[in-house]
């Protein structure tokens, strides 16, 4: 059955499938069963896509990276030893590919001018990310504070921003985020805390107190 199990809003990417069932799918995919691999793609596509999105902040590029990551995962299934979960393994592939792409010259140029980019391009990725229909979140995002926060998040150091977005997405635990980033769990926790502290300090300068 290859029906997409993730029909609801932001569900767990693996649905109700147990680890044993996932490993069975992996084994079948190793033997050349592309349908089984298609099921794996469906079950993990959101997690993979969001990891790429956290690194690239561009939906289009995140889609490309997610596709490349799944293709690479299929080609390297033999190297998957099951020491980590399949989700962590494939998300790590996507994360590394996303970092490679981010390191390209064009990405460097765009991220080096985050404020100019946000100001020059009305259809900036962050802006488009927020345009997903009217909801309470959208009303919040339409507020002045949300506008400041969107801009300030882009100005965070990359390591802090990556950890904040990965953990804040709700798709990954601290342990999973640490495995994907390749840093100790404590380091990831510190980065998230530091990112929050920097954001609040910058908001305080803009007149938003927290007490």
């Amino acid at each position: 059955m290859s029906e997409n199990p993730t029909g609801g809003p932001a569900p767990p990417s693996t649905g109700c499938v147990t680890d044993a069932q996932l490993l069975e799918l992996v084994d079948r995919a190793r033997q050349g069963d592309t349908e089984a691999f298609g099921d794996l793609v469906d079950r993990h596509r959101h997690a993979v896509y969001r990891a790429a999105l956290a690194a690239l902040r561009s939906p289009e590029e995140a889609e490309d990276v997610a596709q490349e990551a799944f293709v690479t995962a299929y080609q390297k299934l033999d190297t998957f030893r099951g020491e980590a979960s399949f989700k962590t393994w494939v998300v790590t592939i996507a994360w590394r590919k996303a970092l490679d792409r981010r390191a390209s010259l064009s990405r460097w140029w765009r991220t080096a001018r985050p404020e100019a980019t946000a100001a020059d391009e009305p259809g900036d990725a962050i802006e488009r990310l927020a345009a997903s229909g009217p909801s309470q979140e959208d009303e919040f995002l339409g507020s002045e504070l949300a506008g400041h926060l969107r801009r300030l998040v882009t100005t965070l150091p990359a390591k802090l921003r990556d950890s904040l977005l990965l953990v804040g997405s709700g798709d990954y635990s601290y342990e999973e985020a640490a495995a994907v980033i390749g840093a100790p769990v404590g380091t990831v926790k510190w980065r998230v805390s530091e990112a929050r502290r920097l954001l609040k300090r910058k908001l305080a300068r803009l007149g938003y107190g927290d007490d």
């Binding site: 298609g38 896509y49 010259l105 990310l129 979140e137 949300a146 609040k200």
Partner: protein, 195 residues
């Protein structure tokens, strides 16, 4: 409608940050991702598309081409450059001060100054051929050739051989007319001076 409540009323800045991050990441992968992956996997493994020319790849390619051009064009010229500075390449400068090439004896050391000197087995021919004068086992690698300055005949222009002041005076007194001797003449046959 904009929420008019203060951040404190909405749970503080931490809550605002959480909601912003959730909103930024609240994106779902396209439904077509599986189809795209399957389509790419169904292609022949060897039929890989050319990589897209990103600015970074263009920069690397340009750097590689520049390095190759530098190696191919510049390196040979650098290797073949003469050791003698350009300011000393004129004949007038080279003649008195130029050091002898490797393994080539200087002209003054080889040129015969008397009849006896011409009887050496090697003769002046050895002087004309630096290769012949090179000792056995000498370095014949390209490095030796590269160190050689551009070839200039090591022999100076033929000049009359001085026979000696006394000899000249005596010959002049006896009225014997002697032509100036050259190396070529000496090589052909011994000179017999008539009294």
């Amino acid at each position: 409608m904009t929420d008019a409540r203060t951040p404190q009323q909405r749970g503080g800045l931490d809550e605002a940050i959480d909601r912003t991050v959730r909103a930024l990441m609240d994106r779902r992968a396209p439904e077509t991702l599986r189809a795209r992956v399957m389509a790419q996997l169904s292609e022949r493994p060897t039929a890989r598309a050319w990589p897209r020319w990103t600015p970074q790849r263009l920069a690397w390619a340009g750097a590689a081409v520049a390095i190759i051009v530098a190696v191919v064009l510049v390196a040979p010229r650098w290797r073949a450059r003469p050791d003698v500075p350009a300011s000393r390449t004129t004949t007038a400068d080279l003649t008195p001060a130029r050091p002898a090439p490797p393994s080539v004896p200087s002209a003054s050391a080889v040129a015969p100054t008397s009849v006896v000197a011409q009887a050496t087995p090697a003769g002046p021919e050895a002087v004309r051929s630096p290769r012949a004068a090179r000792p056995a086992g000498a370095d014949t690698s390209l490095a030796w050739r590269a160190e050689r300055p551009p070839f200039i005949d090591p022999l100076p222009a033929p000049e009359p051989i001085a026979i000696g002041a006394l000899e000249t005076e005596r010959i002049a007194a006896e009225g014997v007319d002697i032509e100036p001797l050259t190396l070529d003449a000496l090589r052909i046959e011994p000179i017999h001076v008539q009294r």
